[in-house]
Symmetry: C2
Subunit: 428 residues, 2 copies
Amino acid sequence: MKKFTLIGAGLVGSLLSIYLSRRGHKVTMYERRPDLRTNRISAGRSINLALSDRGWRGLEKVGVDKDIRKVALPMKGRIMHGLDSSLSHQPYGKEGQAIYSVSRGGLNCVLMDLAEKEGVEIHYNERCTQVDMKKSAAHFENFTTGKMIEVTSDHIISTDGAFSAGRLQMQLNTDRFNYSQTYLEHGYKELTIPPNANGDFAMDPDALHIWPRGTFMLIALPNMDKSFTCTLFFPFEGEYSFNSLDTEEKMLAFFNRMFPDAVALMPTLKEDYFANPASSLAIVRCFPWSFEDKLLLIGDAAHAIVPFYGQGMNCGFEDCVVFDQLMEEHGDDWSKIFRHFERLRKPDGDAIADLALANFIEMRDKVGHPEFLLQKKIEARFSEKYPERWIPLYTMVTFSPDIRYSEALKRRTTTGKNHGGSDEYSRH
Amino acid sequence: MKKFTLIGAGLVGSLLSIYLSRRGHKVTMYERRPDLRTNRISAGRSINLALSDRGWRGLEKVGVDKDIRKVALPMKGRIMHGLDSSLSHQPYGKEGQAIYSVSRGGLNCVLMDLAEKEGVEIHYNERCTQVDMKKSAAHFENFTTGKMIEVTSDHIISTDGAFSAGRLQMQLNTDRFNYSQTYLEHGYKELTIPPNANGDFAMDPDALHIWPRGTFMLIALPNMDKSFTCTLFFPFEGEYSFNSLDTEEKMLAFFNRMFPDAVALMPTLKEDYFANPASSLAIVRCFPWSFEDKLLLIGDAAHAIVPFYGQGMNCGFEDCVVFDQLMEEHGDDWSKIFRHFERLRKPDGDAIADLALANFIEMRDKVGHPEFLLQKKIEARFSEKYPERWIPLYTMVTFSPDIRYSEALKRRTTTGKNHGGSDEYSRH
């Protein structure tokens, strides 16, 4: 039995704490925010997320998937909205395959409930100010009381997301830490499509809606309350940008021209647009992810990506699965577990970062062109006929958790070699 | 008259303070280290540096070059040492062209003396702990007294090198700050060749000596005291690495095989090798370099590069020249000066980072091959005959301060277009 300190009780931290508890370890989580369950705030800005097979596998392995299935909405494909409000459909995979819209906050609450049932302790309003890696001690400052504490444990795992405090400690206090944070020219802003007058979904709820407009796009995912959360991905600067749409007139003229059918469903567009922030989008890469057997970065703390493949959370949950397999393999050799984990997952973190960025172009531009949709149709038919010879990239990433992200990326670029399953992943 | 706070009184900070003073501004510098002039410590680990035309221009513009000329040793070319101790020569440029070995500490002392003569105030042992950018306030903690102070001024310039505290504040406190720190697999260790029994240089002092060995190298630059400072650039890990040469026997066997003629001149090799640290080599890129008109990053703080082109200091001094031209051009519009500076210099910082990394391959490998030396000879002849048609890359970077780094890099890759001077640089 080892004592673990987890920095951050978000999605990945909460799930990982369950995995660690199941193996008999004592886990304490320190979360910067108040308890989501008593203060209904959104954890971060993204209100819903797309859960796909890698994420489900992470939940299934500890048997927490059933609770989530009840509150997940299947999206079987994309529905594209043209400038003339015409619709076109593209299925994500075969019959029966779907990605699932889940509430980020709701999922986090369920995972924290389950973690506590396993004996995990969670402390809130605790900001990590420092990590003394040699001593395996984490320092926290309580937002409400101002009290500073030092927490010593056997291992510290930093599951505190893209702006990780644990990772900052690696940057400041270790030599030869490779690090990059790269921001996109685009940011995002959340808007809303409420239920219609009948209290029902205002659009088809079985799909992810996209308004692809070349250099920018609007998307919408369904929520359990029959609303849609819309996200506008838009440049910060330039002719059409968050910066340039600075009056109600300009904004409305632009939306009416670009997203006419959406505007008709957005009674609070004006309020939402000017009240909600334009948030930035960053890609974070770093290495190593560990310091001895004292500190490990997992999830977005190690590899934050852009949201365009819907894989950020899925990748983080897969981290938990891989970490669990390594605990199985290496027993109590934590140095080995940490080193193996970072060596194994770094190529996958890099691959999904590249894939997610590339998918932005596909979503905002290509899906708007009939030739592209035709190509996808042909690919789907071919793959269905000869599944052993070729699998579409989207299927490998989204519905094939046995294929590593790095393998999916490699197969995309070397199609000729695309046969058979990956034995890499099952090796650990 | 504006009040400037400079974080860091190193080479670039000291020179910049002279430029600012000459334009009538009040400059106060806060330096983390003790005063070099009373405590003879090395500022950083690199004991001597190669000063070339861009650096000289920076010194000339404020008339401080004459003091430096007296303590600078011209190196007219490279002398390569073969495994069999045979020597081959390669001139850096035409007759009369040379780069100059100067003592880093000595140069820094002269610049601080000159800065104080201009009325610049310098405080030592002051570590920057925080910058309140909105308020234009920098916080320092004194190493000896522990006292914390807040210094408010009109503008703060961060001239504190590769591990800049000012840059960290940009990373922590501004949105959309792009940043990367990338470490090489190689590190470096300093060794020494003292004067010979006659009290004279043990090798030809008119050159930079290289022992090129493919994946690693040793170099030596002459000092005023007739010693040479040698630097071993060597992998941290692997078959031949700092990590593997962990006993006197292994180290000596390796040096005797690889650098036989150098070993004969290094009586303190054993002591130096095991006493001196293996230091890391990083490339730092970031953007933006400024926050409003409050904080600006200059020199290594904005663009730290590897030392293989001998351009780190030269690039930093050129930053000062460009900044001075922009003060001339934009008068008291500091927002404009800061924005123009970062826009203008970012491509040059990126270019010299790429060139410096590429030159590592040239130095450690190519210069050891006769074909390469022959090619250089042919290029030199051609260029001498048709100077308006083609200039060697090394000459553009080292001896042609009118050609921007970014222009030199571009011309290298598009040789066909290589004619005429750059009008880019003179535009500002």
